[in-house]
Symmetry: C2
Subunit: 113 residues, 2 copies
């Protein structure tokens, strides 16, 4: 059993041309002995966003703080603390911070290569 505080895990900046102001930390994954899926925490700064992209695995998301949105095509759905989302495999998606504070969420993905 592992029990820890998320504040004790450091964020890494994600440095890619189509990503702005996004940090990520893995809370639970294969290094911690998780057998099937990975729990990550994302923090997007005001004005920041992930890439608009698609991949073969799903996201299961739970929003912790801030005012964000999830974009898919012409649809941009506002999210806040207590919002949750399923992005199914191969669905296009983008996470955006639409507020002034940090937009934070948990994003769980299956093991993938």
């Amino acid at each position: 059993m592992i029990v820890e505080d998320t504040k004790k895990v450091k964020y890494s900046e994600i440095d890619q041309p189509d990503i702005t102001g996004v940090r990520m930390k893995v809370l639970l994954g294969s290094d911690e002995g998780a057998p099937n899926f990975v729990m990550r925490e994302f923090a997007i700064e005001s004005g920041g966003h992930t890439a608009y992209h698609t991949h073969e695995w799903e996201h299961e998301v739970y929003v912790l703080d801030g005012e964000g949105a999830i974009k898919q095509g012409d649809r941009e759905v506002p999210v806040k603390r207590g919002s949750f989302a399923l992005v199914k495999p191969n669905e296009e998606h983008q996470f955006l911070n639409k507020g002034k504070g940090t937009f934070r969420f948990i994003c769980v993905v299956p093991f993938h290569t």
Copy 2:
């Protein structure tokens, strides 16, 4: 893509002899089209607890509110907002509310029978 507010999903009381004051709702599972794992939200009332038990699948947990603890053998680890936990397959465990308010957490599990 599914985006929803957790308040719109109703809790179900878990009525078992070794469980006290525990409600659960499935946020994302097979009914919502999730392909691999299930995101559930638990709420444990003051004085309540889940069963002390074990099973073949893991838990990945993120604490949302309240003052709780996770018990394993003689070890009882306090948790609060921002705590996260991995309970590995076949590890004994119990979630307890140690505070006066509701103890709420997200618990992700793989599909299992």
